[in-house]
Subunit: 363 residues, 2 copies
DNA sequence: TTGTACGCGTTATCAG
DNA sequence: CTGATAACGCGTACAA
C-alpha cells in the first residue's frame, strides 16, 4: 500500500502509466471520463508520486532551502526570524514551492554542508544572515546555488540579490527622537561585533549625535551581545557614571529587558530617569512596563520580497543585481515619556531604487 | 561544472563509475592510489552525488522532517521549541541524518501536505505538538510515515512513540511550592484550551489545592492564551477581586511578563504582594525583576530522546510502544520571596518506565 | 581490484 | 487522445 508506483495505479485503472502521469500533472489530452477514473484510483489508494524519481527527470525539486548562519541557533528563538520566515513561506506556497528550514547547520562540518548544497536538494536558497563571519554566502556561490539574502554587508558586496533595512538611518531616527525630547547624555547599547547591523546602528547613533552637535562619548557606548544580561550589566555601569545618561538607545529590544531591570533595581524609573528606545518591536516588549518605544522592521515583507526575488531568478533566470532596502518605522509608545502617533522613516535618497518606490506605494 | 555526473568524474579520473561510487561511499576494495586520485578529482571539481538519483535507488533520503502543528507558526518564536530542535538536530547529525524543518504548513492545504508526506521526502518525521486539534499525527499515520511525537494527548493514545513531561506533576509541584510558603489564595493562569498541556497543568493545580485542603475557586482561574497580554488582563481582574490572590501560578513564562506589569502598575510588587511561579524557564525571564521562579522542562533532552526513538525505528525497525516521560525541575529564584537550591521533581510512579530510569541515572 | 549492465519511479517524446 | 520507450544519475550484483 505504501509502495504503490505509478505503474500500479495505471494497471488498476486500466490505462498506461503515461496517462496516469498526465492526470497527475494536470496535462490536457486526457478524456474526462478516463481522467476521473484515474483520479479516483489515485485518491482511493492515497497515491502520490515519489519525489526523488520526479526530481531526477525534472531536474527541479520545487524545494526552497532556508538557511541561517552556522552559529545562529538562537535565531530560532527570535520572533524576528519567525516573521521573516512567514513572509517567505507565504510567497513560496503561493507559487508552488515548499520552503524547508535547514536546521542542523551547527552540527555539521563545512564539507557535509557543501555536499548537501551540491546534492541539489533545493532549487534555491533564502539566506537570513547579517553575520559578517558567516561563510554561508560564499559556500552558496561556490556550490553554484542560486540564493537571495536577507541582510547584507556593505563592505563585502558579493551578494547579487538581497533585501535589508537601512540600519544606519533607522538608528539615526531613534536617536534623533531622543535628542528632540531634549536629551544630551544618550547611551547606546551595541550588539555583537560579528553582526553587520551592529556597526550600522552605531554609525546611525554617531550621525544623530554629530548632527545635533553632541560630542561622542566612548563611556556611553556599551558592548552588548543582544541578550538581556548584557543590557543589565551595561546599564548598571552607565548609572554608576559620574554623569549618567538620561536616555538610552538599545540595538535590540531583548537587551532592554535587562536595562529596565537595572533601572528599577536602583529605585529609578523609566522614562523619567532613563528614556529608552529599542529596536525590533518584539511582541513581548509591548508588555514591558512602560511600553517600549522602538524601531519596527518590516519582517514579513522582507521575507516576501526575498522569496519573490529568488523565485523570479529561478523561473525567469533573472540574475541581475537586486538590492532592496525597505523602510523601518519608529513606533512611539511610553518609554520616552510622551505619546504621539507613529512616524514613518523614509530611507535615504542614495539607497532608493525602483523596487523601493514600489515599497512606498504599498505601505 | 555544476552539471557534473559520476560518469564525468569517472572519465576524468580514468576509472569506471563503479569505482567512483565506491570511493564516494567509503567502500573497501579500491586500491589506495586509485582512491586518492579519484578523491582528488572529486574535490577539485566540487562534485557531490545528486540526492534525487541516489534516493531513487537507495529508497532512503536520510532526511528527517520536523513538523509543527499547522496553526503554530508562533512556535518559531518560542525558545522552548528551539531547544527541542537543537536536541533533535544533534542526534540526527551524529547518526548521519539531516533534519529539515517543514515551515510552510499553514500556507498549504491538507491534500498538498499529504502528498508531500507520500512523496517520501523524509525517512521519518519528528512531530512537536501538544495541540489536541492538530491533524498532523493522524495524517502521518495515514501516510504510513514513521514518526515520533514530542508531546501527547492522554485522551487520544494513538501515538505509538512519544516523549513528554508530566505536566500534571510539574504544575502540582509549582503550586505545592506556593502552598508551602503559606499561600492560600493562589491564582492560576491557563494556556489555550486546544493545547493538551493546558488541561494537565490545571489538573496539577487542582491536585495541589485539594491535597492541602484549599477549596478550588473558579474566580482565581484565568483563561490565558500564552501571551503577555492575557497575563496582564487577567492579573488586573485578579487584583480587583474582593479577596485578591497572594500568589499566582502561570502556565508559561511569557504570560508572567504581563502579570508583572499589571502588579507594578498598581504600585504593588513581586513577591510581597504577589508571589509568582512560571513554567518553561525561558532565558528572557531571568531578566524579569525579580527573577522568576519557574518550572524547567528538559527540552534539549526531549528532542534527543525523540530523535533516538525515531532513528532506532528506522534502522532497526522498532515499532513497539515507547512513551517516555522526562522529569521537570522547579527552579527557585526570587519571585516567591526566598531563595534556596533547586529541587528535582521525580515523575509519578504510574508513568515510570525503563526508559525513564535511564533518564534518572543520566540526570 | 575493476568494469558492465540493470533497475529504481517518473516524465518527455514520438508513434499510433 | 493513448501507449510504448527512452532518458534522468546513481548503486550494486555479477562478471572479468
Amino acid at each position: 500500500m505504501s509502495q504503490l508506483t505509478i505503474e500500479d495505479i495505471a494497471r488498476i485503472a486500466g490505462v498506461s502509466r503515461s496517462t496516469v502521469s498526465r492526470v497527475l500533472n494536470g496535462q490536457p489530452n486526457v478524456r474526462p471520463s478516463v481522467r476521473d477514473r484515474v483520479q479516483e484510483v489515485i485518491n482511493s489508494y492515497g497515491y502520490a508520486p515519489q519525489a526523488a524519481a520526479r526530481q531526477l527527470v525534472m531536474r527541479k525539486t520545487r524545494l526552497i532551502g532556508l538557511i541561517l548562519p552556522d552559529n545562529a541557533h538562537h535565531l530560532f528563538g527570535n520572533p524576528i526570524f519567525a516573521e521573516i520566515a512567514r513572509g517567505m513561506s507565504q510567497v513560496c506556497a503561493q507559487r508552488g514551492y515548499t520552503p524547508m528550514l535547514f536546521i542542523g547547520r551547527q552540527d555539521m562540518d563545512e564539507a557535509t554542508f557543501f555536499s548537501l548544497l551540491r546534492g541539489r536538494h533545493f532549487d534555491g536558497v533564502l539566506l537570513i544572515s547579517s553575520d559578517r563571519q558567516d561563510r554561508s554566502a560564499a559556500m552558496l556561490r561556490e556550490a553554484g546555488m542560486p540564493y537571495v539574502r536577507v541582510g547584507h554587508d556593505p563592505e563585502d558586496d558579493q551578494d547579487l540579490q538581497y533585501v535589508d533595512v537601512d540600519n544606519v538611518a533607522a538608528a539615526r531616527v531613534a536617536v534623533e527622537h531622543l535628542i528632540a525630547l531634549g536629551h544630551r547624555r544618550i547611551a547606546m547599547l551595541k550588539g555583537l561585533a560579528k553582526d553587520v547591523c551592529t556597526h550600522a546602528r552605531l554609525e546611525g547613533y554617531r550621525q544623530a549625535l554629530a548632527a545635533a552637535g553632541i560630542p561622542f562619548d566612548e563611556a556611553l557606548v556599551g558592548d552588548g551581545d543582544w541578550t538581556p544580561a548584557s543590557g543589565y550589566a551595561w546599564t548598571r555601569r552607565f548609572l554608576d557614571l559620574p554623569e549618567p545618561p538620561t536616555a538610552l538607545f538599545s540595538s535590540n529590544d531583548m537587551m532592554v529587558a535587562g536595562v529596565v531591570r537595572a533601572v528599577q533595581e536602583r529605585g529609578l524609573n523609566v522614562p523619567d530617569d532613563l528614556a529608552i528606545v529599542g529596536f525590533d518591536d518584539l511582541l513581548q516588549t509591548t508588555m514591558i512596563f512602560p511600553e517600549l518605544t522602538t524601531i519596527r522592521q518590516p519582517c514579513v515583507e522582507m521575507g516576501m520580497r526575498a522569496a519573490e526575488l529568488l523565485l523570479d531568478q529561478l523561473e525567469h533566470n533573472r540574475r541581475e543585481r537586486a538590492q532592496i532596502i525597505l523602510p523601518t518605522t519608529l513606533i512611539i509608545r511610553e518609554s520616552c515619556g510622551y505619546r504621539r502617533r507613529s512616524a514613518h522613516l523614509s530611507p535615504p535618497a542614495e539607497s532608493a531604487t525602483a523596487a523601493l518606490d514600489d515599497e512606498q506605494r504599498a505601505s
